[in-house]
Structure formats: structure tokens, C-alpha cells
């Protein structure tokens, strides 16, 4: 029997089962999600396949600095005579690995804390939310610069710092959503059958607060790309000779007069990646959380 024939009386079970599928469908049909997600997918592929698609090793000195674009070097060479396109391709690895690891860390820290603060209330709530407020009293990049500046730049510390300073936004989002959900009947139902608190937190509440988490994660990834590039721009992020977009932009500023293109390529790369994460986040919000639509 063809599935296209509408059923007369859909019972509750099939309706519940088809709902997530409908949601996936709506996600994939959203224009912003298509555009943002598409570009992110492309960037991830480029980063993963970097050794295969980059024409040269990113740190190989080819002898001729500041060459204009040519068939051998589609984007020219930089001030040390390294292939600009190859460095751009390898730069995607730094951006994507720092941002994904740090936001994963922020989520791992922030989600349980937000759930606990919203579910247990009382002293737990006060301590967690006030601690989040303290971290939020520092502009993120200032705290990141101070800590990285003191610890000395390293990949691990960069991920740790961004992860910790970005945990409070997750805490706040999850806390707010949990507060809204904790009085719901399905939570009370789970409580009344004697479910353990850990079960209620992670198996009952978490799936229901997932929508704002996804939106926050997407925006957070864009933010982390910005912070990583910003710190590298200031010389506090990934250290040379590792190819990083922020560092490439910073170096290119010395050659504004002669080779303005060196500034343009990495600028386009960072901007597009951030734009893609923000567009994806906006699209996710439109579909998953229409109340917050701007």
C-alpha cells in the first residue's frame, strides 16, 4: 500500500513517530540552513581533505615571495614565498578544530550545570548562576586574551579558554529552558513513577531543551572562529609557522600597499565561515524555536 494514501485516523503512536521526521524535513527545506550548512560542510571537507587538495605543503618555502596569482599559485605566494591557497586550505583546519573542540567543551560544561540550576533551584541555582554571571562580567575576548597571554599561546589552552568562557551562555540558555519545562506534566509523570534525578535530567528534560542548545551551539561556533582568528591576529593564538587565518590577516597588513590581495583571501575565508555559522544558527532558530524569531 502506498504511503501517500492519507490514513483516516492516525493513532497517537504514528503521529509521535512522524513528528521528528517532519521536523528534519522542515530543517532541510529552510533556506538559511541550506546555505549555512552547505558552506560549513564544504569547509569541513576542505579541512579534512587538505593534504589531498592543497597544491603544496603550507609551510614549504617556494623561493619567490609575494608572487601575484598565476596558474602555479592560484592565489599567489605570501611574504615568505609560501603558496597562499595551500595556507588558506590548511587554515580551515585550525579554525574548525579550535571552534568545534572549544564549543564541545562549553556544551559539556554548560548543559549539565544549566540543567541542574534549573531543576534543583535553591542553593544550587544561586551558586551556578552567580558563577556564570562572574564569567559573563568579563568581555569574552578580554578574559581570553588575559588568560592566553599569561599561560602563553598553545592549542590546548586556547580550546580550554574559549570553552570555559563560552560555557555561561550555554548555562543560561539551558537554565531558562529547564525552568520553563520543569513544571510540565511529563516531568511530573517521570517524578511520580520514581525516576532517578539523573534520568529526569538527561533522558527526560535534555531532549526537550535541545532546540535552543543547537541554536546556541551554532552561534557559538561562529563566535569561536572569530575569537580564534582574533587571538591569532593579535599574535596570541596559533603560532607561526602554522597556517591560521587570523595570523595571515595580521601579516598581510604589512603589505597593504603592494599586495592587498594577501589581506583579502583570508578575510573572505573567516568572514564566510562565521557568516555560515550565524546563518545556520538563525535558520535553526526559525525552525526549532519560532518564538525567538527576529
Amino acid at each position: 500500500m502506498s504511503s501517500a494514501v492519507p490514513r483516516q485516523e492516525p493513532d497517537e503512536h504514528t503521529e509521535a513517530a512522524s513528528e521528528p521526521r517532519g521536523r528534519w524535513h522542515r530543517l532541510l527545506r529552510n533556506r538559511r540552513i541550506q546555505l549555512g550548512g552547505g558552506f560549513i560542510l564544504f569547509a569541513v571537507l576542505v579541512a579534512v581533505l587538505a593534504p589531498l587538495i592543497a597544491p603544496y605543503h603550507p609551510n614549504r618555502l617556494l623561493g619567490m615571495p609575494l608572487l601575484p596569482p598565476s596558474p602555479q599559485h592560484p592565489l599567489g605566494t605570501d611574504n615568505f614565498g609560501r603558496d597562499e591557497l595551500s595556507r588558506l586550505i590548511y587554515g580551515a583546519r585550525v579554525s574548525l578544530s579550535v571552534s568545534s573542540l572549544s564549543i564541545a567543551l562549553a556544551a559539556v560544561l554548560g548543559i549539565p550545570l544549566g540543567l541542574c540550576a534549573g531543576y534543583y533551584r535553591g542553593a544550587v541555582e544561586t551558586i551556578i548562576m552567580r558563577a556564570a554571571d562572574v564569567v559573563l562580567s568579563f568581555p569574552t575576548i578580554v578574559l581570553a586574551i588575559a588568560v592566553v597571554g599569561i599561560l602563553g599561546p598553545s592549542f590546548r589552552d586556547l580550546v580550554l579558554v574559549i570553552g570555559v568562557v563560552y560555557a555561561p551562555p550555554f548555562i543560561r540558555i539551558v537554565y531558562g529552558a529547564t525552568l520553563r519545562e520543569r513544571e510540565s506534566e511529563y516531568v511530573q509523570a517521570a517524578q511520580s513513577v520514581g525516576a532517578r534525578n539523573s534520568y529526569i535530567l538527561f533522558r527526560v528534560l535534555l531532549p526537550n531543551v535541545l532546540a535552543p542548545i543547537l541554536v546556541q551551539a551554532s552561534l557559538g561556533l561562529g563566535f569561536a572562529v572569530l575569537i580564534e582568528a582574533g587571538l591569532s591576529f593579535l599574535g596570541l593564538g596559533t603560532q607561526p609557522p602554522t597556517a591560521s587565518w587570523g595570523d595571515m590577516i595580521s601579516v598581510a597588513r604589512n603589505f597593504l600597499n603592494s599586495d592587498p590581495l594577501l589581506l583579502i583571501w583570508p578575510s573572505i575565508a573567516v568572514s564566510l565561515l562565521v557568516l555560515a555559522f550565524n546563518t545556520l544558527g538563525d535558520g535553526l532558530r526559525d525552525v526549532l524555536d519560532p518564538r525567538l524569531k527576529t
Binding site: 572569530l226 582574533g230 593579535l234 587570523g246 590577516i249 597588513r253 578575510s267 568572514s271
Partner: protein
């Protein structure tokens, strides 16, 4: 209202205490011996001991903490290890320069964001709206070091319109000082202007459907007059509060903008201190920036509670 303000002030004290604690911890994050890191690995042992003693780093941690808090409360942020000057006066001078940038950026954000947001809301889902929404998205997504570098490339290098990076103080030459302010402020304002514009659009759209707008139309006001005289005023509330929240973001943005344009503000002081390993200065600047953010947030909350009485009971 008075009770609300009082409660917030008590909380402010707690928050400043915690923020100062974080600033205190910073110096203890230094791998190894911070004094060795400052003076270099080959510094003579006696000198290291002497500086350690001067900074109080040879005392027990709790004593150090109490001393640090005592000094902060009395407005003493310590002295620069490198230059010997007192940190707080220098922080205050730099703070003035940074606030100038932030004020300029806010003026530009409002001057550009509110008219464009209004325009987008008056023509929802048209090409104008779509183009403006992408402009806003670009403003939010383009990193300020990209905007700054490209602006510098276009204006200073390509068109020779504005003087490049050489700071002129207000007292020396006000006109040149203002000229210098333009590019950094525009760079800073890109993101906040976009946020203001998006907020203005959605808030105006929401208000357009309100009862008082129906009344305004019903009494015969043209749509233009109804929007101008009734809708815009009512739509501004959320815009004001998001503008307050933007101050924190703008403070963060100054880190990059001051570096690009060589503006002698708080952030350049912080970066210089980091490259000199001048830890007391790092602590002082971080503390000053955090206190400023806390104060701004408090002001926004109080203004908002005044405008919207429901907030006070939350």
C-alpha cells in the same frame, strides 16, 4: 523601586568581589615563577627575591588575597613592574580614550541602525527587507579586524583620505582628533549597528499589530503618521536595552580596533602589558574592564526596571 535598586547594589558588591578574585587568580596562573617570567630566566636570584617581596608574592596565598582586596578597595591597583608607574591613574587615562571609541560607536549604531531597521520593518519581506537583513548579517559576521584592515586599506592607503595611525590628543588638535576617531568608531559600530537594526525591525513589526496602532489608524491617522508618532516610540524600549548589552561587546571589540588603529586605550595597555609580562598591569586592566561591564549592566537593568515595572518583581 528603591528595594530593587538596593538589592542590585548589594549584589553589585558581591559581584565586584568575585571579579576581583578572578583578577587575583590571574597572576597565579603564570606557569612556573611569575617573577622569573617577568625578569627573564637569567635574572639573579637576589633580584627575583626582591621583586617577589615587593609584589608580596612571598607571603601565604590567603594573606596575599586579603592584601590584594584591601588595596583594590582603597583604589590602589598596584604598580607597573616595568615602568614603575601607578596602575590606576594610567588605567583611568586609557579608559577615557576607550570610552570615546565606545560612545562614537553607539552614536553611529543608533544613527544608522534605527532608520534602517524602521525602513526594513515598513516593507517586511520585500527585496529591501531581504537586502537589509543580509547587510545586518554581514555586519554581525564580519570580524572587526577584517573590517578595520579593509577600511584602512581603502581610506588611508588607497584614497589617502584620512591620516594614518599617529595619535593626536584632543587638547592638541580637536579636529584631527575627531578625524582619527572616525574609522575606529565605524569599525566598532558595524556589529552593534546591525544588532540595533535587527532589534528595531522586529520590535517595530511587533508593535505595528498592537491595539493602540489600530486605534491610531481608526482615528484617521495616515500609516506614516501612525508609525512616526506612536509606533517608533513604543518600539524603542527593547532597542535601548539591547544597546546597553552591546556596551560589553563593544568593550571587547576595542581590543582589536585599538590595535589596528594604534589607539592608546585600555586594550592596547592590556596587550602591551601582556607582551612585557607586566602582571600587575594585566590584573588592573582586567579588573577595570570587568567593573565597568558590571556597572553598565547594572545601569541598564535599573533603567529597564524603571521603564518596565514588571521587572522589579522577578
Amino acid at each position: 523601586m528603591a528595594r530593587y535598586v538596593l538589592r542590585r547594589l548589594v549584589y553589585l558588591v558581591v559581584q565586584v568581589f568575585l571579579v576581583a578574585t578572578v583578577a587575583f587568580i590571574l597572576i597565579h596562573l603564570v606557569p612556573g615563577n611569575p617573577v622569573r617570567a617577568m625578569l627573564g630566566q637569567n635574572a639573579p636570584e637576589a633580584q627575583v627575591r626582591q621583586v617577589e617581596h615587593a609584589l608580596g608574592l612571598d607571603r601565604p596565598l590567603l594573606v596575599q588575597f586579603a592584601a590584594w582586596m584591601g588595596q583594590v578597595v582603597r583604589g590602589n591597583f598596584g604598580r607597573s613592574v616595568v615602568g614603575g608607574w601607578s596602575v590606576l591613574p594610567e588605567v583611568m587615562t586609557r579608559l577615557g580614550n576607550t570610552l570615546e571609541l565606545i560612545a562614537g560607536a553607539i552614536i553611529i549604531s543608533v544613527a544608522v541602525g534605527i532608520p534602517l531597521g524602521t525602513l526594513a520593518a515598513r516593507r517586511p519581506n520585500t527585496t529591501t527587507d531581504l537586502v537589509l537583513s543580509w547587510v545586518a548579517m554581514a555586519g554581525i559576521s564580519l570580524p572587526n579586524f577584517v573590517i578595520g584592515s579593509v577600511l584602512l586599506l581603502l581610506f588611508a592607503v588607497h584614497w589617502h583620505v584620512l591620516p594614518q595611525i599617529e595619535f593626536v590628543s584632543w587638547s592638541k588638535n580637536p579636529i584631527e582628533h575627531l578625524e582619527l576617531l572616525v574609522l575606529p568608531c565605524v569599525t566598532l559600530a558595524a556589529a552593534s549597528g546591525a544588532v540595533v537594526m535587527r532589534m528595531m525591525r522586529s520590535s517595530l513589526l511587533e508593535v505595528t499589530g498592537a491595539d493602540f496602532m489600530r486605534t491610531a489608524r481608526a482615528k484617521g491617522l495616515s500609516e506614516n503618521a501612525a508609525v512616526r508618532r506612536h509606533a517608533i516610540k513604543n518600539a524603542l524600549n527593547p532597542v535601548v536595552s539591547i544597546l546597553g548589552l552591546q556596551v560589553g561587546a563593544l568593550l571587547g571589540g576595542t581590543v582589536i580596533v585599538e590595535t589596528i588603529y594604534g589607539w592608546p586605550g585600555l586594550s592596547t595597555l592590556l596587550l602591551d602589558a601582556i607582551s612585557n609580562r607586566d602582571y600587575p598591569v594585566i590584573q588592573g586592566v582586567v579588573l577595570a574592564i570587568a567593573i565597568l561591564t558590571v556597572l553598565v549592566n547594572l545601569t541598564v537593568d535599573i533603567v529597564y526596571a524603571y521603564l518596565d515595572p514588571r521587572i522589579r518583581y522577578v
